[in-house]
């Protein structure tokens, strides 16, 4: 069996990343879109930790921790905004967010 190298992790991360992108691009439910963004951030983290292993230093892990913090903050604010939006519009479908255009 091929030894597991950094590249393997990169591919997994890329897959997660793309799954996140697909979610962002196609799902109608805002909550799931936000979850997809979490997927993207996880891909980033996976990258970082893999590289951290590759380089033998901890910068990547540190960065990953910061990204987790960011993910938490984004999720909190995003869900808060979503709730405010939901109160006004009674919907959480992305394609119904179309007041502002042109």
């Amino acid at each position: 069996m091929v030894p597991i190298t950094t590249l393997h992790y990169l591919v997994v991360a890329a897959a997660l990343f793309v799954l996140g992108v697909i979610g962002v691009l196609t799902r109608r439910n805002v909550v799931i879109v936000l979850m997809s963004i979490e997927l993207i951030l996880n891909a980033v983290n996976l990258n970082l930790v893999a590289f951290s292993r590759m380089w033998g230093n901890l910068h990547g892990q540190l960065f990953a921790i910061f990204i987790v913090v960011d993910a938490a903050a984004e999720a909190a604010v995003g869900l808060g905004i979503l709730i405010a939006f939901f109160r006004n519009r009674e919907t959480i479908n992305v394609d119904e967010i179309d007041l502002l255009k042109w």
Binding site: V24, L25, T26, V94, D95, I97, D98, L99, K101, W102
Partner: protein, 703 residues
């Protein structure tokens, strides 16, 4: 030398009068207006007389010109502003306010101021009851100023000042009765046609300066006579032809004569002064002045002669059938001017000038006389409504009769000498078909006699054809009007005696006086072929024959007219109309030239829906401007409007846009898609981002 040194005052006298009228005229009494304006011209006349006398002393008979430069008019006055001549050297750009007196200008000076003075005096009576009295005299004085500038100028540019100035005054005076549409039309026509000539003149003068390096007559003459230039030099020929275009405009030659008959819309003294005696001879003056150039250009000379002869016969033919008394005289003037150019063209400059001189008197007399008639007839100008006036206005009748004899060429009146001199010279200078020109001149003489006699008979003989009311008012004109008539009549009789040709035992003093101006050129072009004086003996017989022929023609013409018109009652028949109705129609309608011009050049009339000429071009250009240049994108809008009907959505955006301007529409057409790109869906935004990333990535990674 006082007068010569202050020669520039001559034009300034009338200029002063004009300025006075311009600033204060409205508040002045008529008497004051008379005093200022007539006084100015009288002063000018007296001053001119003294000047000419002084000049004769100055020149000692050598004809050496006197030149007085007052200041540099165009140009910076030093050698720095210069232009490149044709030969690559540079010449100073300079046109002075300078004055030149030589025999040629002396003659013009005298008769212009003289006739002008008489006509001013005449106008006092004629215009007494008209509105705009001061305006009239202001214009007249302005005219005198321009005319005097024209003839006293020492260079082409200052001459052009007078040249345009007389054109302007002519315009103003023709349009004096501006509330009449016909008058303002005629005024415009006069100015614009003159302008065409002026353009030619300017180009001619520029050619000369480009070639010879100066605008001054003396410089140009000296250079032209220096022998550096071959006869038939193409540039000089071009220059001469261009100058002649200018002369055609000013002196009403084919094809630019059309303005002169219409110019009769002006008050009669104006017709007399401007459109008979002085302004229209400016072209003759200018060509005579440029004789040094013209003799080096035989082609141009030939053109001048042919145009002159054609004009003479053409205008005379129209004059045969006209009914408006002034119009007959107008065509007569055109015809006589043709004679003058014929003379110039065959190299007989002196003869041409002589005819100008005599013509000034009798034609002015005729116009003034007709003015007197019109005055008597309460403004009626149609000869069909006149008749049997000879007893009612005797002075007018007598003087006009004399003038008619003079113009018809009955010896020993003025016209006989000058006209026969021209005809003789035309015959004699047998340079390639000039006898034909004589023939034309001869025919013209016949016609002249006929239409002039017709005029006299219709007006003064026959039965009265006017209404009773008019008849009741007929009266002889006041002294201020008849006085000048008498003076002019005397001149018309006597003026010719100044130039009695050698063949009749005269000395041709007139010709001699002018000799210094022309002699050498005549020697250069015509004389070598035919020595002048020795030839006299051989040709005397022939000359006599020709004289007799032309006198005979005059008599025949007059007699023919007598036969038809002497007893004309109401509904008298027109002989030509009876014998050749189509010809009559053509002549009566002036060969349809005006109509042709309207169709072809001015565009005032349309052919069907198409408009040609200047206005046609103007319309086309405006259309082009509005539609093509400005509306290139408006058209895009137009197309989209057609598409717009297809869908209401499209409609909403585009109709909105069509109303607005051109470029905006195109911009809008791109703008809406650009905005539609932003259609509010957040995932679409994300997709575009991903697409952007993909695009660049694909380019770099997979290229």
């Amino acid at each position: 030398m006082f007068f010569l040194n202050h020669i520039w005052l001559i034009p300034l006298f009338p200029a002063f009068g004009a300025a006075m009228m311009f600033f204060f005229g409205r508040r002045l009494q008529k008497a004051t207006v008379n005093a200022v304006c007539v006084g100015a011209v009288v002063f000018a006349f007296l001053f001119a007389c003294f000047t000419v006398v002084e000049y004769t002393h100055f020149a000692h008979g050598t004809g050496h010109p006197f030149e007085k430069i007052v200041y540099t008019w165009l140009g910076s006055g030093d050698a720095h502003l210069s232009f490149l001549k044709k030969d690559g050297t540079t010449a100073q750009f300079n046109a002075d306010a300078g004055f030149l007196l030589d025999p040629l200008s002396s003659i013009w000076l005298l008769f212009v101021t003289g006739v002008g003075m008489l006509i001013h005096i005449y106008s006092v009576g004629y215009m007494a009851h008209e509105g705009g009295y001061y305006r009239f005299f202001g214009y007249m004085n302005l005219f005198m100023f321009s005319m005097l500038t024209l003839i006293l100028a020492n260079n082409y540019m200052l001459l052009f000042v007078g040249w345009e100035g007389v054109g302007l005054c002519s315009y103003l005076l023709i349009g004096f009765y501006f509330h009449r549409k016909s008058a303002s039309d005629a005024a415009n026509k006069a100015f614009i046609v003159n302008r065409i000539g002026d353009a030619g003149f300017i180009l001619g003068a520029l050619t000369l300066s480009w070639y010879l390096g100066s605008f001054r007559f003396t410089d140009i003459n000296t250079l032209a006579r220096s022998g550096h230039f071959a006869i038939g030099d193409p540039v000089l020929t071009a220059a001469a032809l261009l100058l002649f275009v200018g002369a055609c405009g000013k002196s009403a030659q084919l094809p630019l004569y059309v303005w002169l008959p219409d110019a009769m819309e002006g008050p009669t003294p104006v017709s007399a002064l401007i459109h008979a005696a002085t302004m229209v001879t400016a072209g003759v003056y200018m060509v005579a002045r440029s004789n040094a150039v013209f003799v080096l250009a035989p082609t141009a000379m030939k053109t001048v002669a042919i145009i002159g002869a054609l004009t003479a016969v053409f205008a005379a033919s129209i004059g045969l059938v006209q009914n408006d008394i002034k119009r007959v005289l107008a065509y007569s003037t055109v015809s006589q001017l043709g004679y003058m150019f014929l003379a110039l063209g065959v190299g007989a400059f002196a003869a041409g000038v002589f005819h100008v001189f005599t013509h000034a008197f009798f034609k002015a007399l005729l116009f003034l006389g007709s003015g007197s008639v019109i005055h008597a007839m309460s403004g009626e100008q149609d000869m069909r409504n006149m008749g049997n006036l000879r007893g009612r206005i005797p002075t007018t009748f007598k003087t006009m009769f004399i003038a008619t004899l003079a113009i018809a060429g009955i010896p020993p009146l003025a016209g006989f000498f000058s006209k026969d001199e021209i005809l003789w010279q035309a015959w004699r200078s047998a340079d390639g078909g000039f006898p034909y020109l004589w023939l034309i001149g001869f025919g013209t003489a016949l016609m002249t006699a006929f239409y002039m006699a017709r005029l006299i008979f219709l007006t003064f003989y026959g039965q009265p054809r006017m209404s009773h009311e008019v008849e009741h008012h007929i009266h002889e004109s006041p002294k201020s009007m008849t006085g000048p008539l008498v003076v002019l009549a005397i001149c018309s009789v006597c003026a010719g005696w100044l130039g009695v040709p050698a063949s009749l035992g005269g000395t041709n003093a007139f010709g001699k006086f002018l000799e210094p101006v022309f002699a050498r050129e005549v020697a250069a072009s015509v004389a070598p072929a035919e020595p002048q004086e020795p030839a006299g003996e051989e040709h005397r017989g022939l000359e006599w024959t020709l004289m007799l022929l032309s006198v005979g023609a005059a008599v025949v013409g007059g007699g023919w007219a007598y036969g038809h018109y002497a007893n004309a009652g109401k509904d008298y028949p027109e002989p030509i109309a009876v014998k050749a109705p189509p010809l009559y129609t053509v002549l009566y309608n002036k060969w349809f030239v005006d109509e042709a011009y309207d169709y072809a050049f001015t565009g005032r009339r349309k052919i069907g829906k198409i408009r040609l000429g200047a206005m046609g071009a103007g319309e086309a250009s405006s259309w082009f401007d509005a539609k093509i240049i400005d509306g290139a994108v408006n058209d895009v809008g137009w197309v989209t409007r057609a598409v717009a009907t297809l869908s209401t959505w499209w409609d909403k955006w585009i109709i909105d846009g069509v109303g607005v301007n051109g470029p905006a529409i195109l911009a809008r057409m791109i703008s809406y898609p650009a905005r539609l790109f932003e259609w509010g869906l957040v995932q679409w935004y994300a997709l575009v981002m991903v697409a952007g990333l993909l695009g660049f990535g694909v380019y770099y990674v997979w290229k």
